[in-house]
Structures are given as C-alpha cells and as structure tokens.
C-alpha cells in the first residue's frame, strides 16, 4: 500500500465523514433558521436563509402559547427533583458505603435493584397513588416522582465514591470528637462534590425530556412542563410553522446552554472518579 494508492480512499472517507456531519447538523440549523422566518416565507421556499430575520414567532410562542410558563415549570420540577434526589441519596449512600451494620447488604441491593427495573411500567399504580394523595396535576407530585426515579443511579455512583475515600479521614475526626453529622457535612460531602455534580447532570437530561409522566399526570396548561406543553402546542398551532420551529428551538436551547456551561464540570467529575 503506497500513499498514492490510498489517496482516493482517503478522499472518499473525508467526503463521507464531513458529509454526514452536514446531515447531523443541518436539520438543527434549519430548525433555527426557520424559526426566524415568517410562515409565508417557509411555505414558499421551504429551504432558504431568512430574508429579514425576525423574532416575532418567539414573542408569540413565549406569551400566547405560554412557553414562559412551561419553561419555569420544567426548571422548577427538574431542578427540584435533581436536588432532592441527590440530597437524599448523598445521605443514604454514606452509611451504606462506610458502615457495616446489620442489613447493610440487603438495603444496598434493594436500592440498586431500581437500576434494572423499568419504573415506567408502574405508571398505572403511580396514577392512582398520586390520585389518592391529591397529587394529580401537581408539580410537587411530579417533582417527588422524578426525585425518586433518580435515587438508584445516585446511590450506585455515590456509594462507589464514598467507598474510595480513605478510612483514616473519619477516624481522625471521630477521635477529635466530631459527631456523625459533622463528619458527613464537613469532611465527606466536600470530598464527593465532583461526583455530586456529574450525578446531578446525568439525572437532569432524562428528567428534562420526560414526557410520559407529565402526559398522564398533568391536566392544566399552567402546570405543563416543556415536553407536555410542546405536544399541546403542536396540536393547536398546526399551521403556524414559524411558531412551531420557534417552540422547538425554545425546548432545545436550555439543555444546549447547560451542556456548554457544564462540559468542563462533567469531565472534571469523571476524571476525579477515575484517579482514585
């Protein structure tokens, strides 16, 4: 194999890879561009640059279609659930990982079983459970459910992190007379902080996208999260394509922003885990 013999092959490889990069990104670019064009323009030239870019459709979607409400609801539910789920798991994973008490193993297995169970299949009982607690059409109900669904994953990751911390740390603190809560809050928690950040981020994405629970559990427009609101919106604005594209951009943008901001934090969290 000479360099000359491989040249046509290399060109083909480059064409394929860069060509597919266009296929992967173009639909998202079209989504963004079409959200800046009035519907009449989209209908006459389905593929084209905005003649005079306008944010009109965003204004419509934001106020008339109450996307501002959906966004706030999504933020409240997702952030609340991620914080609650991570907090209770950070507490529970600590004794499970660092103390050998009766029932420790059974309890650990009980939490980890949740990693393998398809929790959505409990949807019907969840509906009647929420109904009996008055939590249908309630953001609190959704937050509790989301938080609970993150517990197995958090426990799994955080237990491994607690276990990797050297035992001398808490022994020394205990000899100095520190109580359990103080050891946890001032020694353990700061040491697992990188893991907490990545665990929160990994929970955030699927919860932000969750659709089936809100579809079944939420009833009124002012309670909708973004995915639930989007499905409503696509039923009502069928001919206003400019608004539809703007809605899709608004549903996607927060996660892109989060990822751009958090990528460094994720990488730091992951490598911190590996070096131990």
């Amino acid at each position: 194999m000479t360099a000359r013999g491989r040249a046509p092959g290399r060109v083909a490889v480059h064409l394929l890879l860069w060509g597919y990069a266009v296929v992967a990104l173009l639909p998202l670019v079209v989504m963004l561009l079409n959200s800046l064009r009035p519907t009449s323009e989209i209908f006459t030239t389905p593929l084209g640059l905005p003649a005079s870019p306008t944010l009109d459709s965003y204004a419509r979607v934001w106020t008339e279609a109450s996307f501002s409400t959906y966004l706030l609801n999504s933020l409240a539910v997702t952030c609340g659930a991620v914080l609650l789920g991570t907090a209770v798991s950070a507490l529970a994973a600590y004794p499970l990982a660092r103390y050998d008490f009766a029932g420790n193993r059974v309890l650990g297995a009980y939490f980890l079983a949740g990693l393998m169970l398809p929790i959505r299949l409990g949807l019907v009982p969840i509906f009647y459970l929420m109904d009996s607690m008055g939590l249908i059409d309630s953001l609190l109900g959704l937050t509790l459910l989301y938080a609970a669904s993150g517990v197995p994953f958090c426990m799994f990751v955080l237990s491994a992190f607690y276990r990797s911390l050297p035992g001398e740390l808490d022994e020394a603190a205990r000899i100095d007379g520190a109580g359990e809560f103080r050891i946890f809050g001032q020694i353990m928690l700061p040491l697992v902080r990188p893991a907490l950040a990545s665990v929160m981020l990994f929970q955030f994405v699927p919860l932000w996208h969750e659709f089936l629970y809100p579809l079944v559990l939420l009833r009124s427009d002012e309670k909708f999260t973004i995915p639930r609101g989007l499905s409503q919106f696509f039923g009502e604005y069928t001919t206003d394509w400019s608004a539809l594209f703007a809605g899709l951009v608004l549903a996607t943008a927060p996660l892109f922003v989060l990822f751009v901001l958090a990528t460094r934090q994720i990488i730091a969290g992951l490598t911190a885990g590996m070096s131990k």
Partner: protein
C-alpha cells in the same frame, strides 16, 4: 459505628421516597394484573384472565402482535443501520487526524435533543407539501423520491427507524471508539506482518475483540427500542398512524391504560406492563450471558 437513630436519619428519606414512588407502584402493577376490575374497583381474583384477554379479545389480539412486530423491526433496523454506521464511523475516525473532535461532536449533537423535539422537527421537515426534505429532493431532480414519507403505511416505520438512528448514532460511535482505543496496536501489526488484508485484519482481529462493546450496544439498543414512546408519539400520534403502521408496545400500553381501555383498563394494562417487563428483562439477561460466554472464549 453510629447509633440506630443516627443511621435512620441518614437512610430514611431515600428509603421512603424510593419505596413509595418506585417500588410500591411496580409491586402493585404485578398485583393489579391478577385481579378483575370494574373501573377503579377490584371485583375479584382473575388469575391469568387479564393476560389471556390480551391475546384473545379484539382489538388487543391483533394490536399486540402488530406492535410487537414493529418493535422487533425497530430493533433489527436500528442494529442494521444505526449500529453498523456507528461502528463504521468509529473505525474511520480512529485514525483520523484533523477535525476528529469536531466530527465526533457533530455526530453526537442530535442526541442532546429531546426525542419528542426530534420527532416533531422531522415531521415538519418531512411534510409532503412544505417540508424542506422533499423540496431538496425535487431540486436535485429526484421528483419520484419526494414521497409522503410519514403518510404512507409502507414508508412510515422505516422513516421512524432512520430518524431514531439519526438521533442516536453518536452513542454506538462513542462506545466503539472507546473499545477500539483499548485494542493493543501490536495485534494489528502482527496481522499485517502475517500478510492479512485490511478486511481480514478487521474480520479476524478487530471484530472479535469488539465483542464486549457489541454486546453492550446490542442490549442497550434492545432496551431502548422496546421502550420507545416519545419519538413515535411525536411522529405518529398515540395510535401509530397511518393506520397503525408505526404502532409500538409503548403506545399500545398508553392507549390500553389511559385512552381506550374501558372498564378493564387497569387489569389489562398492568398485565401488558408485566409481559413487557418479563420479555425485555429476560431477553436482556439472556443476551448479557451470551455475550459474556463469547468474551470468555476469546481469552
């Protein structure tokens, strides 16, 4: 060793949250499936009657197998398109110099988008009158290819499979890239010294060593495809239109439980949930042990 009261403060919040909202509903779903229901009232023990009904009573007897078949096609199509292309991209990018990071990021970007958004976006892009896909095809002189993609029973499911692959292809690519990076370079050199062609080296050296990664990708693809909901709902509604040609088990479960289940909705949808769980979990376990045996034979 802390006292029990201290332990309880640490353990109870997570235990309660998880038990009430995750474990209790799952256990209850199993229980519900064995009872007779009139609306939300249990009227007696039903044994396996709810399960039998799914296979014998119209329309479930037809819709269940149809949805199952579509999920199976979804899985087969995804393995064939998404995971093969993902492996190809991983191989091509493995020795790629400039632009590798950008290309990897570009291929994985759609994966950050909500499946529901992906479904709605593509239903607009594929619209037969105003969609840019068909106007692009017409501009390229391929008028006969400008089909009503999501409106035709023959093309709808393949289109859903391709759109799903568009979203997820970065995932097998990243996993295979990581696995390729783990294969010692000496193996490839040894193959070359022995006079193996590029294809032989791939077939006899690289591919067998990728068995663990192929196993992980296959099982995760299987679980993801058989749980599909948001993407299909956005592209084809809750009935899997047109004419049920894209109906999958996730949609069927939703309809039986909350849309058209009637007075027996709770029992039958719970039975369907249990069947889906047993099938998905069982196959994943079997596949997992199959791939582990294959791996051991490699060593």
């Amino acid at each position: 060793m802390p006292r029990w009261r201290v332990l309880a403060v640490f353990l109870l919040p997570a235990f309660l949250l998880y038990s009430v909202f995750i474990v209790y509903p799952l256990v209850t779903a199993l229980e519900y499936s064995f009872f007779e229901w009139r609306g939300i009232r249990q009227t007696g023990f039903a044994g396996l009657a709810n399960y039998r009904d799914l296979f014998t009573i119209y329309p479930y007897d037809q819709q269940l197998w149809r949805a199952f078949g579509h999920n199976a096609l979804f899985f087969a199509g995804t393995m064939l398109i998404q995971n093969t292309v993902g492996l190809l991209f991983a191989l091509l990018l493995f020795r790629h110099g400039r632009g590798k990071r950008f290309l990897q990021a570009a291929f994985t970007t759609p994966y950050l988008v909500d499946p529901l958004v992906v479904g709605y976006l593509w239903s607009l892009l594929l619209n037969p009158t105003f969609g840019p896909v068909n106007s692009l095809l017409e501009a390229a002189g391929l008028d006969s290819w400008a089909l009503p993609w999501l409106g035709d029973t023959r093309t709808a499911l393949p289109v859903v499979i391709v759109v799903n692959a568009w979203q997820w292809v970065g995932f097998p690519m990243l996993l295979f890239s990581a696995a390729l990076a783990g294969i010692p370079a000496e193996y490839h050199e040894a193959a070359r010294v022995d006079g193996a062609s590029a294809w032989q080296a791939f077939r006899r050296v690289t591919l067998p060593l990728l068995t663990p990664a192929i196993g992980v990708v296959s099982v995760l693809t299987f679980i993801g495809n058989f749980n599909a909901f948001g993407l299909v709902y956005a592209m084809a509604g809750s009935t899997g239109s047109p004419a049920g040609s894209t109906d999958v088990l996730g949609l069927l479960f939703y309809r039986v439980a909350f849309v058209e289940g009637g007075t027996e909705a709770i029992g039958r949808s719970s039975a369907l949930a249990v069947l889906m769980f047993v099938f998905i979990f069982g196959v994943s376990m079997l596949a997992g042990s199959y791939f582990r045996r294959r791996e051991r034979r490699l060593l």
